[in-house]
Amino acid sequence: MLEARLQTGALLKKVLEAIKELISDANFDCSDNGIALQAMDNSHVALVALLLRHDGFEPYRCDRSLALGVNLTSLSKVLRCAGNEDIITLKADDTADVLSLTFENTDNDRISEYELKLMDIDSEHLGIPDTSYDAVVQMSSAEFLRICRDLQVLSDSVQIDVTKEGVKFAAKGELGSGAVTLKQSGNVDKEEEATLIELQQNVSLNFSLKYLVNFTKATPLSSRVSLSMSSEVPLLVEYKMEAGYIRYYLAPKIGEDN
């Protein structure tokens, strides 16, 4: 039995927007710790790990661990029926063949109820090892979104170089080339926009811009984003929320393709 009441329904809507492009079906793993989701995209190039901690809900109840197999496109369609101000309650039985969603609007006393059919999704839980990264860049999520979109005009991949001085995003394509450099800044006035770099070692990696742009769909969830990198290891892009996080992992592009 799961019952989870979310005061700001808009959060769930944003979360869905942030993952549904990448993944079509996934299991929501519910436990007393909260609701988690982990899935790879079709090509096994990217992985999404989502956690909505129990303390983000009020109340939250989950007696036994449950896996709710959901078609994310369908869920996001249903969530479109919820207003931004609505309180959303998720409910599911232990048998878990449907997920019930209740949208309450306190202003005009409107209550809507939906049920979404669940499916069996065969997925194995992948153990993601704890990694200490060579470079961790913390920056404004809006800035990251802009850089990815701008560079996508030029190429489908971006080279990210991190040094003491700053982080450089560079793309080279048939049109020409472009680069954006953000300097390490202790901009205390605008904490939101500061770029902070923790560096053990310089890194230089290539990533598919298509995927990065896809990740930036999570921008509305957090004003900050952190990029953690080590060479030959997947990039971790993390958006922290008040009670939880959404993490994207992306395998770097390797080798030359002649």
Binding site: N42, H44, V45, K172, L250, A251, K253, I254
Partner: protein
Amino acid sequence: MSLRQSRLTFGPKSALVASNVKSDKGTAGNTKDSDEQATSSNSTAEATIETKIENVKDVAMDEDVDRALKRQVKVYMLTYSAFQRTVTENFKTKKRSRRVIASDDEEDTEEMTVEVVKVKEQSSTLEHKAEDLTATTKRLKLDAASPKKPSAQSIVVKELMIVAKEAELEGDTKESTDEVAIAEAEDRAEEIEQEKEAVEIKQVAAKWADMFSKSSNEEIASWKKGEPVPYAALCQTFEQIEDTTKRLQILDFLVKFLISVIKLSPESLLTVIYLSINKLCPEYEGLELGIGESLLMKAIAESTGREMKKIKADYAEIGDLGMIAMNSRSNQPTMFKPKALTIPHVFKTLKDIAALSGNSSQKQKVDKIKLLLVSCRNKEAKYLMRSLEGKLRIGLAERTVVVALAQAIVLSRPNIKKLSKEKLVAELEEAASVVKSVYSELPCYDLIVPALLEGDIEGLKKACKLTPGIPLKPMLAHPTKALTDILDRFENVAFTCEYKYDGERAQIHKMADGSMKIYSRNSEDMSNKYPDVMDRLDKFTKTETKSFVLDCEAVAWDREQKCILPFQVLSTRKRKDVKEEDIKVQVFIFAFDLLYFNGESLLREPLSRRRELLFSHFNEVEGEFAFAKNMNSTQIEDIQTFLDQSVADNCEGLMVKTLDGNEATYEPSKRSRNWLKVKKDYLSGVGDSIDLVVIGAYAGRGKRTGVYGGYLLACYDPEREEYQSICKIGTGFSEQNLEDHYKELKEHVVPEPKSYYILGEGNKPDVWFAPVKVWEIKCADLSVSPVYKAAVGIVDSTKGISLRFPRFIRIRDDKAPENATSSEQIAEMYSDQKLNTVKNDAGLGVDMDFDY
């Protein structure tokens, strides 16, 4: 610089790097290995040739010259095939290493070149040896010419001539060859070809019997009992098959694999068979994948993160999406390996893909393909892509699969090891022939495979019989060139002549429940094309006729003039969703054979009885249904008159069939000599018309500006799944034709020739086409050509056959490119023609009186 997308991995850094390096080394090592292998096989082949020569010399001392000769010839044949094999291997190696050089810009290159040079040297030494061999062969031939026991001698001559022919093909024909003898040899070559298959089956049977009686059966399977068969196991078998060209070995590999499947996961057997023949269901259900190259390239691009551009460039160079898919993947280290593919999963996905239609189905198809591709390991991607393309191109013919199935069923019996060797051989042969004959009656693995698993060979015979509602492959006729040929063929045999109507073959089925179907020559369901006929069918049958299968020809009919219209008129009928009120072209059905009647299969009955039943249980209906006109006289004058009459009645000519006895049964899917066709225009030039695939065109000039001026045609080699260029064509087209062809064909233009087009140096047209159109072509005669590649390797090892003075007759919309005239048929026509000329020159037979 461009980059390749790696798959998501959370390994320790070093692991990732190391595996990368390793895989690089691995590939380099492999190529080297194969080179070494080729080199060593060269030297072994050389050694064998030498020992064989020694042997021959020893044997020559033997007093029994006949036997010695026979053995010698055999030894030579062996040596020759060994030599040829090595040469092919050399060639392959060369090609391979060339590719490596092209794709690999590292230091290895030099090493490779050295290897290549070595290989070349070796092959030239081998060529010298071959010359020696040729010389010896000739000496032997002279020996053989001296009189010996007649029967033995003929065999020797036969075998010798094959060697001689091969020798001739080596381009060493300076010494005068005994032409009559060669002709004789060629005459028999056809018989030999036919026997070859039977012999091969026998050989394999014997080999298996040997293995089973001697040793314990080794389990080669890589999975556990009851588990679904891994796709990798099938791909491994495919790979083994692709690596050899010997039919025996191919059969051997497949049988081994099938035995494992039967023993461990019998429920997967049917799917394995379907994947091996690259089909999804029986042909008449018509479910096809319908995936274009561009869609596949998109799937590869999306799943590997490579640029489409690169993949297209690769495709232009390599021409095999399978290889591209495999190479795009092969140096991608992974840690989160997706689950291994299983055969049921792959097959189900393929079927799902085929069933997708409508809105956004393309995207869904790509998604499904991507999911499969991501899970592919090693060689799997290669064969998966080829399956999706609809061309496995591993040289696995369907008839081999049928034989392998039969043998695997026998060999997986629990008590099989107790049988004596002789008995086992007999059993295996019997099984192969039973399954083959059942399949020709009931071409539906959905029924055959479960029946085999359930009731073995015996059960199959009982459970699977000709069934109305399931089309069988029609029996086909052999072309003849002269009426005298008929008399030669049917000497002392009762035969009959029938009109050969110029229409479309139609197989009419009526099931016991009263429902009816009409199938085409290719087992397509044509019931929708002929709603008018379907409606009238009941009028044609007498009341006692409950179920039947009729073999007919559907012909366009002019109701006013009461005459047959040419095929071209029939082909203007709509093919799908025909409404009865819209029909303009009326159809007349001429029934000529009854294959099944009221619950009883008549395939094994002689034609006389089948015809009797046909005549007595069906009604002729004026203007709608009739029996094919026939005549039973055996006088050549009567046949001539009958032929003239048939032509006057707008027919193509005559069919001549055996009437009684064992040879008068219906042989599904066979081009049998028990049925001969005599076409009106056979009697001059080359006998039959030829159906060829259009693969390219030349820009038109002068009067033909704006349309294609000429075309490049190809025949089809089903064995190798290749199209081989055969001739250019520019005559026989009306202006309307040219315009129509231009409009239709420009839709099918492709930028590069397909990798499975086999082309000579000089045949580079201005545009290439995908193989879609089949044309009927006539020509003056066939000749060996260094430029064209049709039937290359059959008549000559490097030269192909070409057509002289080809002219266009009509479009064959009823034939798929794969049904075009095969290389084998071309080769046969060529040798038939040569035979005739030789005969004529020698003044033997052929009356040239009726030259049209």
